[in-house]
């Protein structure tokens, strides 16, 4: 019985008194004096599954944001929730990094990869412990080491977060019994409950330490593996998507028109151009001035991916010559000198005039005097253009050289010239550049040289096909990576030669069958969609929308070129055609090489095998030309005639019909005419391209060997460590029969 003082007792028994708070507490104590028990457990375990996990993650992130606002506004937030804001910041930082690096990425594939790998990094951070530590632990030890619980304040926390503060109240007796059964400890045995708890504590601690040890390795590896697996697929998807879009535009003229019409004008060169324009110092400028202006007005720098660097330099060089003259005449029409004092300048310059009488009279030193000058200038206005001045002086029989010398001394006002050029650059030229860029956006996915164009994909696929058909293995790959081109040429040679050596042991019909099989694996039929798209991209009516000049003389000079062969339309058509021929040549390359090797193995070309092989693998005709043709031109021509004999290609014609015509062309021209087909049929850079494909395959294999092994070892160590955790036998030694002796 609780002791209550008599005074209070009488007070309490007097029911008319209302109890204040102080007394109420006493009253409660008195009532429950004999049934004191602990409070209800306030901690509750959280039961989850994979679906609710993801949903909860989103909900929790929302809660974190609300908590952030609460912390800033009121300054009251628990440690646990403050720690969760750290995760929020981490996600924000990762997103910022991904967005920034994506903006800087050189290709669309790289940009997409930033987000994929960034997300993959965060995913690897959470999935590594979930899949390789928590899951095996659950299977081996029978409980969830990532158990979460909700505490009395309503916060969701990790149960095993702090090794020295485990709120066991959250686990009910039944749950501990269940876990004990799974791990082989009887709850009801001596120390049973303590043993189960100790085992759970120890296992969880060891697993979390393992997590800390392995996370540094696992997360980057996981993200890199994801990037390697997903990168090629992203590139393929991007290439296909861009190709389809470009094709669609080319097939619908209205869409194409609209697309080009809404292209943004490109003002990129205007600043530099203004700098050059303003660099003139008020006198008649020299040829260098006009040259630098004309260089700034060129458009060929827009084509680096379509043309090679050398080609674009040549073209812009040619185009700028014609442009310089036009600029100079434009200058002279627009730049003026003031009439004020001009008569004096002319008189003082003592410009020598040649008149027909001089021959007869023998008079020397005849120059325009001041009166004559004033007279002849009278008919002109206050500001005289240089071209009219020039005409004037010429009409007075002054020699060109003397006119040039005189004009070079004058003060020239070229502001209207500068204005005209600036307007041109900002107006028609910028618009033309914009149109060209828009059209390039259509051409590049089809016929460009970047990694994300269909043409590049086609070539890569053909080369990979060769690599697979010829059975390239580790040793070959290692040889390919060594720097020289000869190494890869020898690889091809070896592969063909070995193939035919193996054939020697077979009977003839089998040999034929095997050969046809080889040809079929080497040959890849043309990609009709790509060819069609390339044709459309090079069609005149499509290009016409881009190169329209609307009669602007300067624009015509830039886009039309002085020589019809280097106008912009021609450049575009040429580059697309070159790409087309390139692809065709690569496709036929395998058949050509097989054909030559077959004939060499059969005994043809005795003594000149090296020359034949050099032509067919290297395509380095020019150096061979120099070696042989200069010294033995007939021998060279004979070899070529024998090689490219249409009748020797019957077998190959069964696989590819068109090879006959191309062989015939070489036979006829013998490389004398610079025809593309002829050049590319043997040039096609076969060796260096195979080397590229093989090298990148080798690099991938070498990388995968090192880091794939590392990943495998990491996973193995993590999984194998699991059974060694949670051993508590030593801490609870068997009790021997004892007692005081």
């Amino acid at each position: 019985m609780t002791y209550v003082s008599p005074l209070l007792n009488s007070y309490l028994n007097n029911k008319t008194n209302k109890l204040n708070h102080h007394d109420k507490v006493y009253e409660d104590l008195k009532k429950h004096a004999n049934d004191v028990k602990p409070n209800e457990a306030k901690a509750k375990l959280v039961k989850r599954g994979p679906v609710t996990d993801a949903f909860n993650a989103i909900k929790d992130t929302g809660k974190d944001c609300a908590n952030f606002v609460k912390a800033v506004r009121t300054g009251k937030l628990s440690d646990n929730n403050l720690g969760r804001i750290n995760d929020l910041g981490l996600k924000l930082g990762a997103a910022l990094i991904a967005v920034f690096l994506a903006g800087h990425a050189k290709t669309k594939t790289d940009a997409i990869k930033q987000f994929v790998c960034g997300g993959g990094f965060l995913a690897a951070m959470t999935l590594w412990p979930k899949l390789f530590i928590n899951l095996p632990a659950r299977l081996v030890h029978g409980f969830n080491i990532d158990q979460k619980y909700i505490n009395a304040q309503g916060d969701k926390k990790d149960f095993f977060l702090d090794n020295q503060f485990l709120p066991w109240d959250a686990f009910s007796k039944e749950e501990l019994e269940k876990i004990g059964k799974r791990t082989g400890i009887d709850y009801n045995s001596e120390n049973g409950e303590e043993k189960i708890k100790r085992k759970m504590q120890k296992t969880a601690l060891q697993n979390r330490t393992l997590w800390m040890a392995t996370a540094g390795f696992a997360t980057p590896l996981g993200s890199a593996m994801l990037g390697k697996a997903v990168g090629p697929k992203i590139q393929e998807a991007v290439t296909k998507h861009d190709f389809e879009q470009a094709k669609d535009l080319l097939e619908n003229p209205e869409k194409l028109e609209a697309f080009i019409a809404k292209a943004k004008p490109d003002n990129s060169g205007v600043k530099a151009l203004n700098k050059i324009l303003n660099s003139n110092n008020g006198k008649m400028p020299d040829a260098k001035y006009f040259k630098s202006i004309s260089e700034k007005l060129q458009v060929s720098e827009l084509f680096p991916r379509l043309l090679s660097e050398d080609e674009s330099k040549i073209i812009s060089g040619i185009q700028s010559i014609g442009l310089e003259d036009k600029l100079k005449s434009l200058y002279e029409v627009n730049a003026t000198v003031s009439k004020n004092g001009l008569a004096d300048l002319i008189a003082n310059a003592k410009l020598p005039i040649f008149s027909a009488d001089m021959l007869l009279t023998g008079a020397e030193d005849v120059t325009i005097d001041k009166t004559t000058a004033t007279n002849i200038l009278a008919s002109l206005g206050d500001n005289i253009s240089i071209s009219s001045l020039r005409t004037l002086l010429k009409s007075r029989q002054v020699a060109d050289a003397d006119i040039e010398k005189f004009i070079a001394t004058l003060e020239v006002d070229d502001s209207s010239f500068r204005e005209k050029i600036k307007e041109f650059a900002k107006g028609p030229l910028a618009q033309a550049k914009g149109r060209i860029k828009a059209y390039l956006k259509i051409i590049n996915p089809i016929a460009g040289s970047t990694a994300e164009s269909m043409a590049t994909k086609e070539i890569t696929d053909i080369m990979l096909n060769y690599a697979d058909a010829l059975g390239i293995d580790e040793k070959t790959l290692a040889k390919a990576k060594s720097g020289t081109q000869d190494a890869s040429k020898n690889i091809l040679q070896d592969l063909f030669v070995n193939f035919f050596k193996k054939q020697d042991t077979l009977p003839i019909d089998e040999r034929t069958a095997k050969y046809t099989e080889l040809l079929n694996t080497l040959y890849r039929s043309p990609n009709a969609a790509l060819t069609e798209a390339m044709d459309k991209a090079g069609a005149t009516e499509n290009i016409a929308r881009v190169v329209k000049t609307d009669g602007d003389a300067l624009l015509e000079a830039i886009l039309g070129g002085t020589d019809k062969q280097v106008n912009l339309e021609g450049v575009i058509k040429q580059s697309i055609r070159t790409k087309k021929v390139d692809i065709d040549a690569i496709r036929l390359k395998g058949l050509l090489c097989a054909n030559m090797e077959r004939r060499i193995a059969a005994g043809e070309f005795k003594g000149v095998e090296d020359i034949v092989r050099a032509i067919i693998y290297d395509g380095n005709i020019s150096s061979l030309n120099n070696k042989l043709e200069v010294h033995e031109p007939e021998k060279f021509a004979d070899i070529l005639k024998q090689m490219f004999n249409r009748n020797a290609f019957q077998k190959e014609k069964e696989v590819c019909e068109t090879i006959g015509e191309q062989v015939e062309t070489i036979h006829k021209t013998l490389f004398k005419i610079g025809d593309d087909t002829v050049k590319n049929l043997t040039f096609a850079n076969f060796s260096s391209r195979i080397k590229e494909i093989l090298t990148s395959r080798f690099n991938d294999k070498a990388w995968m060997k090192k880091f794939g092994t590392m990943s495998a070892v990491l996973v193995a160590v993590t999984l194998l460590a699991q059974p060694f955790f949670g051993k508590i036998k030593k801490e609870y030694p068997e009790k021997t029969q004892g007692g005081a002796k």
Partner: protein, 344 residues
């Protein structure tokens, strides 16, 4: 005649129970947790202590499932995945380079340098943002959020041991909002300033209280909690914005030109390597600000990140300070001195 020497401190007989204040303090410091004198190297010393213990003590204890592993050790282990992960990111682009051809090795090496710069500047950005904000908060509120103390843990004996050892830790005084070590602050004030409220008085002055408070810990305790909560919330955002800026800077072209040399093979070249790193940082910052004309992101992304990290760091300083300063005349006292109260 008796010698009339005036007894000096030195000749006093060592009899009795007088112990000097300093001796008491030293003994206390040896065995009890206390706040030590902070200087510029305190953080570095604590970090180095954590790192060595991570590898040689905390990991073995964790793997052995020791009862003595605590939350501090778990948090300290968090350094290791960051360091290992950074090294892995660099290795992914450099470890196989010896097998590649020179051209490919150079291309991969460039990415490795960018990765290296990125991870270093990431960590640097996180640290710098916190440091700047904390220094600002210390100046305006007097609370040093980076204050560390020496924690002496008496461990339980491990299986097989007779007695548990005494372990040293270097936690932060204000590491927890709910339970900041005000007991240690009070003890430190008592030992070093003779008054348990010395620290709270200092803070109260900064908060705007002109008169000395009777029980400053009652008023200042919640204020310190608020400052810590606001600062933590803000810096958890600002440090990642600055880290992102660091990574963005590391991705600039200037870092591709860093001269990497093997420090063990040619130690003479180490100064020039550092010089090339510094120029890379300088140029990288300029390149990040200027951006390139490719698209809207490249033109303004760098500027946005730099301004963003500056603004968030500034806010991390300002927001707690604004909440801290108070007009003492508006503070409500809980006890209304004009009313009468019944005393039981």
């Amino acid at each position: 005649m008796q010698q009339n020497t005036i007894p000096s401190v030195d000749n006093l007989p060592k009899v009795g129970y007088y112990v000097s204040h300093n001796e008491k303090k030293e003994k206390f410091y040896q065995t009890e947790s206390h706040i030590h004198k902070q200087n510029a190297l305190s953080g570095v010393k604590a970090g180095a202590h954590k790192l060595t213990n991570d590898i040689f003590t905390y990991f073995p204890k964790g793997f052995a499932g020791s009862k003595n592993s605590d939350f501090y050790e778990f948090l300290s282990l968090g350094m290791i995945p960051y360091a290992v992960g950074s090294a892995m990111l660099i290795a992914l682009y450099s470890a196989t380079n010896s097998k590649f051809s020179p051209q490919h090795a150079a291309a991969a090496g460039k990415v490795a340098k960018t990765m290296g710069a990125g991870v270093v500047l990431y960590g640097l950005g996180k640290w710098l943002s916190q440091k700047i904000a904390h220094k600002g908060i210390k100046a305006s509120t007097g609370i040093d959020l980076d204050m560390l103390y020496i924690n002496k843990i008496n461990e339980l004996p491990e299986p097989g041991q007779e007695k548990g050892i005494v372990r040293t830790q270097y936690p932060g005084v204000f590491a927890s909002v709910d339970f900041y070590r005000k007991d240690l602050l009070a003890k430190d004030s008592e030992l070093n300033h003779g008054d348990i409220y010395a620290y709270d008085d200092k803070i109260a002055k900064k908060a705007g209280f002109k008169k000395e408070l009777n029980a400053p810990n009652q008023t200042i305790g919640p204020k310190i909690r608020e400052v810590k909560a606001r600062a933590t919330a803000m810096e958890n955002i600002s440090k990642y914005v600055m880290a992102a800026t660091g990574v963005a800077m590391g991705a600039q072209k200037s870092f591709e030109n860093i001269k990497m040399i093997n420090p063990f093979k040619n130690p003479k070249e180490i100064p020039s390597m550092f010089k090339s790193m510094l120029t890379a940082v300088k140029d990288g910052a300029v390149q990040l600000w200027k951006g390139t004309d490719k698209n809207v992101l490249t033109r303004y992304g760098g500027k946005a990140l730099i301004i963003g990290s500056a603004v968030t760091t500034l806010l991390t300083w300002l927001v707690p300070t604004i909440g801290f300063k108070t007009n003492p005349n508006t503070m409500k006292s809980k006890v209304d001195t004009t009313k009468e109260y019944e005393v039981c």
